[in-house]
């Protein structure tokens, strides 16, 4: 059984997703239990594979025992192991949280929601553990298609946003596929390890075809991960989506795309090779510009979710910046920030969804006195906000710290200035919300602008806090923020150190 873990990691959620509408027809309760079990199994498999990768070295799993480079192999090194654990953990937590949002839907809608959600998880898990570039494209499309449909579930504005995302996302995926075509034309291989071996001499010799492939893949993935200025699809998609899906999509999906870019740049192309340093430098400049501009945009937002969406664009910039810095500390910072930001952003979107569930509101101006009604939720929000700003001992501080160390080593002073200035900007927009939630008194008068729907929701969901199924994921992720911060040294030396190219330089 143990030697099949990498396959089970994918197969269990995939089969569950396909069964889901059928199961939903008979019992929605069973459906929920089944999906939680499947994702928890996936999580257990991910932990198992990560431990294996750390103790016994990279795990090569051959599908159907076809030897690579002809067969498809799954490769789990510490980096993909960490990503798989992260994806499956957040996936389980958000699914647990999603229950109350779906309580009033019919069996068909529930079945479809669960199927899409689990397919999205399958796709993302597949992307991180596959060792084949075309297989990666297939998983990319599985996850993207599921995400389009999930985003569209948030209402009519979300449908328009989802359609826009389909168009832009497909451009990204097509560019990626075209890049893979060039790589295949040049090397005749689709296996990552084999490609790395054959490509690096070509890249060093400045082969034009490989150069085009590099650019196509970089731009394609840049669109998918919403690297500034290719982030146009993201704010609308994140703002209007159903709160049952967005914490997972926002926390994990763009991070997986960055992981793919990291895999290409540092494991397949080789970061110091041929044209790559120049390309990474451009990525760094774009990231720096994106960090500042998106933070400024976030300050201008009045909708909490839209603010978080712009802040996502900025945070993705940090990770890209870490890749552009490219030395040991820079990469540690980038990978650590992938983890941190996935946990922080999921957590904050969970809080946003919780407030929406409670009061029917998303506008920051409506957050007055909310801390008194939901003390635990807003406490976790405070933690998440401090972490986004980067105040020790929360997680966000340490990844920024590593990024700054890396930039210092390379003497890239501008990047340091960008990181510090953007932390101040983060402080500006998060303190606005904190002020509303903790210090501002709610107006006692009747509020004519309050819609009937939100009043109904507020009456229906009365009570001191969120229900436990929603509260537990929020608290767990909040604890995760602290844990990632306090234990960052342990995580870096024991796991991330081995996750870097060359197994820790």
């Amino acid at each position: 059984m143990k030697e099949q873990l990498p396959a089970l990691l994918i197969v269990v959620p995939l089969v569950t997703a396909l069964l889901s509408p059928l199961v939903a027809y008979f019992s929605t309760r069973l459906l929920r239990g089944l999906h939680l079990t499947a994702l928890a199994t996936s999580f257990a498999c991910a932990v198992g594979t990560l431990i294996h990768a750390l103790t016994e070295g990279t795990w090569h799993y051959r599908f159907g025992d076809w030897a690579p480079p002809w067969g498809i192999e799954y490769v789990i090194d510490p980096l993909s192991g960490v990503m798989a654990v992260l994806i499956s953990l957040i996936s389980v937590l958000v699914l647990l949280y999603a229950g109350p949002f779906l309580a009033e839907e019919g069996w068909l809608k529930k079945g479809i929601y669960y199927a899409l959600y689990t397919l999205l998880t399958t796709g993302l898990l597949g992307m991180v553990i596959t060792g084949d570039v075309f297989n990666l494209y297939v998983f990319l499309e599985i996850s993207s298609l599921a995400a389009y449909a999930l985003i569209a579930s948030g209402g009519y504005k979300a449908t328009v946003a989802a359609f826009r995302y389909v168009l832009i996302g497909t451009i990204g995926a097509s560019l990626y596929l075209l890049g893979v075509g060039y790589l295949y034309a040049v090397t005749g291989s689709l296996n990552m390890a084999d490609l790395a071996e054959k490509l690096q001499p070509l890249l060093a010799a400045n082969s034009q075809a490989v150069l085009i492939a590099v650019l196509l893949i970089m731009v394609g993935m840049g669109i998918k991960m919403a690297l500034f200025p290719l982030h146009g699809w993201l704010p609308d998609a994140y703002t209007y989506t159903s709160p049952a899906a967005i914490p997972f999509i926002s926390g994990v999906m763009t991070k997986v795309m960055i992981y793919v870019l990291l895999r290409y740049c540092f494991f397949i192309f080789g970061a110091m090779n041929g044209v790559l340093p120049a390309v990474l430098e451009i990525v760094g400049w774009l990231a720096a510009a994106g960090i500042i501009l998106a933070s400024v945009m976030a300050i201008a937002q009045t909708d909490f979710r839209r603010m978080l969406a712009y802040s996502s664009v900025a945070q993705i910039g940090y990770i890209a910046l870490g890749m552009a810095i490219g030395n040991y500390y820079g990469l540690i910072g980038a990978v650590l920030h992938i983890l941190n930001h996935a946990v922080m952003k999921s957590c904050l979107f969970l809080v946003a969804g919780g407030v929406k569930w409670k009061t029917g509101e998303h506008a920051i101006a409506k957050y007055a006195e909310i801390s008194r009604r939901m003390p635990v939720t807003m406490g976790v929000f405070l933690l998440g906000a401090l972490s986004m700003i980067g105040i020790p001992p929360t997680a966000g501080f340490f990844s920024k710290w590593y990024l700054i160390l890396g930039a210092l080593d390379n003497q890239q002073w501008l990047y340091i200035v960008v990181i510090i200035v953007s932390s101040l900007l983060n402080a500006v927009y998060f303190f606005r919300v904190i002020e509303q939630a903790y210090l501002r008194k709610a107006e006692g008068e009747a509020k004519p602008e309050e819609t009937l729907a939100s009043v109904e929701i507020a009456i229906k969901n009365r009570g001191p806090e969120l229900p436990y199924v929603m509260l537990v994921p929020i608290v767990v992720l909040g604890a995760g923020i602290l844990l990632l911060g306090v234990c960052n040294n342990v995580i870096v030396t024991n796991i991330l150190h081995y996750a870097l190219p060359g197994g820790g330089l």
Binding site: Y148, V160, I171, Y184
Partner: protein, 122 residues
């Protein structure tokens, strides 16, 4: 000239087809036209892969008595890959059409500028 047509010409065609996609998506106002532009772009990528597998005078790679050397057959791998890509393209089209149906039902329009205007009203 003939050499150009037999060697690089097809790549230029694919290049133009591919660029039609982003062009249509950015500059066309009608959402269905945008979707069609997206499809054209996907077809361009599929064509690109198929051309990679092509060979002058190559035969279909099926197992028959009296096999010739590998040089006589076209490369089947790109075709196999593109079967998957075609399915992906089909699924993307299906999802987008479903989304457009919803948009049309609710807003009653598929022209982007008009749609944005109506979205801001409600």
């Amino acid at each position: 000239m003939q050499e150009f047509f037999t060697s690089y010409f097809i790549y230029w065609v694919i290049f133009l087809l591919f660029l039609l996609g982003p062009y249509g998506i950015i500059f066309k106002n009608n959402l269905i036209k945008k979707l069609m532009a997206m499809n054209v772009m996907q077809v361009a990528v599929i064509l690109f892969f198929l051309v990679l597998g092509q060979k002058m005078g190559g035969e279909i790679p099926v197992e028959v008595p009296g096999l010739l050397g590998a040089g006589h057959y076209i490369n089947p791998l790109p075709h196999a890959l593109m079967l998957t890509a075609i399915v992906v393209s089909l699924a993307t089209t299906g999802v987008s059409l479903a989304l457009l149906l919803l948009v049309q039902k609710h807003y009653g329009v598929l022209e982007e500028d008009e749609l944005l205007r109506r979205m801001n009203e409600r």
